[in-house]
């Protein structure tokens, strides 16, 4: 398993040995990838103080040979204790053109230690080199901020888009013959204009005849 190293971040200036990156770090190929999220938890009074997380972070490591992702969700509670985010719903989805595709058919939850592991399926379609973008996110929950992270994985099935037919697509790969359509539209439009102009000409001819009489 590839090691993550230790990264730190501050909580109101206090330095803590936390395995996390700052908010803008969303991709890290070989090491730890984490996301640091903060919430002021205003207005949440129904949850006991010990269960309130001010900060959460996700730590992700991966096992290349098994194509397995390990996620660890932790946070700092209101008493400044570092605790695992247990039994939290985690969304693990792959980015697709029109939205996000769930990796697992069933919901995924962290265990008591805040850990979760998933073996990524082999048949996820990636780009030409089999690369795809994975989003891991803590589901919306009142007791902790919803941290998320994005990683690029090259575990997918390579797909050659140049030879990809339009099967199963919502939109066509090949455009309809708009040039023919445009030419027809222009022709119809100008024919209509000419005919209407001719009708106006007839009306004014009629008027001229009346004046002559």
């Amino acid at each position: 398993m590839e090691d993550c190293g230790i990264l730190k971040s501050g909580n109101e200036g206090t330095e803590k040995p936390l395995n996390m990156l700052q908010r803008n770090c969303t991709d890290c190929h070989t090491g730890i990838i984490s996301y640091y999220s903060k919430s002021d938890l205003q207005g949440i009074d129904t949850i006991t103080p010990g269960e309130k997380f001010i900060h959460t972070w996700l730590v992700c490591t991966r096992e290349e040979s098994l194509k397995e992702i390990y996620i660890s969700a932790s946070g700092i509670n209101i008493n400044n204790d570092t605790l695992p985010v247990k039994n939290a719903l985690v969304l693990v989805v792959v980015q697709r053109y029109f939205g996000w595709m769930p990796v697992n058919p069933k919901p995924l939850f962290t265990d008591k230690s805040g850990n979760l592991s998933i073996i990524m399926p082999d048949n996820i379609k990636g780009d030409s080199s089999g690369r795809y973008k994975l989003l891991i996110r803590l589901a919306d929950e009142r007791s902790y901020p919803n941290g998320k992270l994005k990683i690029n994985l090259d575990w997918g099935e390579p797909l050659d888009y140049s030879s990809y037919s339009d099967h199963g697509r919502i939109t066509a790969v090949i455009e309809p013959p708009f040039s023919c359509l445009s030419a027809t539209s222009v022709l119809v439009f100008f024919t209509t204009c000419i005919l209407i102009s001719y009708v106006f000409y007839l009306i004014f001819k009629m008027r001229r005849k009346g004046s002559a009489e």
């Binding site: 029109f98 939205g99 919306d140 919502i170 939109t171 708009f178 359509l181 445009s182 539209s185 439009f189 209509t192 005919l195 209407i196 001719y198 009708v199 007839l202 009306i203 004014f204 001819k205 009629m206 008027r207 001229r208 005849k209 009346g210 004046s211 009489e213």
Partner: protein, 438 residues
């Protein structure tokens, strides 16, 4: 000869009775204007605060404005059906109803654009269609065709009016001078010569033929606004004919309503007779049956296959949230009227008028059901949206603006029917003279 002249005078007297601007008319127009001002205030609110004052949100971005637009376009089809097809087929009985059909076609076609402007939020956005319009988009085709169709309707209304305008200018002395000047301007120096008659006939023939492809195109392209979008419920190849036949039903019902009201108010019982109502009712049965055929096709084919997204939409429509509305309008607005009109008793003016109210109202709701439930069921639903972003209910502001659009139509019909004869005078005199000569 004297008898003919007497007959002519009676016809002129009867058919120009409506053009007096009476106090009743002023009160009626005053009432409509007041209502319109109230509706314009709602429109001001929309301009001031944006489309957020309507019920349209992320899911349903086309609400009652677009439903009203397609309803208006559909109603205006009566101009093509009555004025063109039946006239070209040599149906002489339709002659007194031609102008009424053109009044309906013209007023609804002109005002249809207002529904689109209302839907855009700000009126100046209409210019964007022309500035940034894409040739590939059916929206641009629709706008262009609507303009062309309106011009043709306008010409079809005003050209047969030329001899009548000349007659009114010549005979009406007790009218305001601006009205006489208007008639003089619209008479185009009409003297009734053979040459003028043949020029008018030629112009009319061109327009009567032109309006058929124009009307079919505008209704088909309006349907393409929906059918060219890959959405469950719209993704259909028969949307074009479904819209056209639906428009026939709407147009005929609108025709009956206006016919009945004009006959009653302007005392035209001798010209719009029970025979006319009977024939229109038969026509109604014919177009309803064709529409029913396309409706069944539209729903049965996807219902048989029950593809994932189609099934959600169809369930909503047939057994879900929209089921009461759907079944009510299918039964009271289409099936029952078609059955009733098979019997002589229901083809009488009053009965037909009442039936037409149901059909006309139902026609608007059919358009509503074409637009809204489909938009509420997209292929890729957004997650975690508030309920009001997912479902659609028109707000009072939106409803008021829509009512305002209807008021504009009523105002146009009222003005046209008060300024000009609702039955062509010149053609009626010609027909009577020919009958006597025969």
């Amino acid at each position: 000869m004297i008898v003919q002249e007497e007959k002519k005078n009676i016809i002129i007297k009867d058919l120009t009775r409506n053009i007096r601007l009476t106090n009743r008319f002023h009160i009626w127009m005053g009432f409509l204007t007041l209502c319109l001002i109230f509706c314009l205030f709602a429109y001001y609110k929309q301009i001031r605060y944006g489309l957020g004052v309507t019920g349209m949100r992320d899911y349903v971005s086309w609400g009652i404005y677009i439903s009203t637009f397609i309803f208006f376009v559909a109603t205006s089809l009566t101009g093509m059906l009555i004025c063109s097809i039946l006239v070209l087929l040599g149906q002489k009985w339709i002659a007194p109803l031609v102008r009424i059909s053109e009044i309906i076609a013209l007023s609804f076609a002109v005002v249809a654009g207002l529904a689109i402007i209302a839907d855009m939020g700000h009126p100046e956005r209409l210019l964007y269609i022309f500035i940034y319009g894409r040739f590939k988009s059916p929206v641009l085709w629709d706008v262009v065709l609507l303009i062309v169709y309106t011009i043709i309707c306008l010409l079809l209304y005003f050209i047969p009016l030329i001899p009548d305008a000349a007659l009114l200018h010549e005979r009406s002395t007790d009218i305001p001078s601006w009205q006489r000047k208007t008639y003089r301007f619209l008479s185009f120096n009409w003297k009734g010569s053979t040459e003028q008659n043949s020029l008018m006939a030629k112009a009319m023939k061109i327009l009567l033929i032109m309006i058929i492809p124009a009307a079919l195109a505008i209704h088909t392209i309006t349907s393409w606004l929906f059918a060219l979008t890959p959405r469950a419920g719209w993704n259909s190849t028969i949307f074009g004919p479904y819209f056209v036949t639906g428009a026939f039903v709407t147009g005929v019902s609108a025709m009956v309503l206006v016919m009945y009201i004009f006959r009653k108010i302007y005392g035209l019982k001798d010209y719009i007779t029970n025979m006319h109502f009977d024939k229109i009712a038969r026509l109604f049965v014919l177009v309803s049956l064709i529409y029913l055929y396309f409706s069944i096709n539209k729903y049965i084919v996807p219902a048989y296959k029950m593809q994932k997204y189609e099934s959600v939409y169809l369930h909503e429509l047939v057994a879900g949230r929209y089921a009461p509305l759907f079944w009510t309008i299918q039964i009271t607005g289409l099936i029952l009227p078609t059955i009733l009109l098979l019997f002589n008793f229901f083809r009488k003016p009053l009965q037909l008028f009442i039936i037409s109210i149901f059909v006309f109202t139902g026609s608007w709701f059919i358009r509503y059901l074409i637009v809204v439930p489909v938009m509420e069921n997209p292929f890729l639903p957004a997650q975690n949206l508030p309920e009001k972003f997912v479902s659609y209910t028109p707000t009072p502001v939106e409803t008021t603006i829509t009512i305002g659009i209807f008021i504009v139509v009523i105002m146009i019909i009222s003005i046209l029917s008060k300024l000009f004869p609702v039955i062509p005078v010149y053609q009626t005199i010609e027909a009577t003279t020919n009958e006597t000569a025969d």
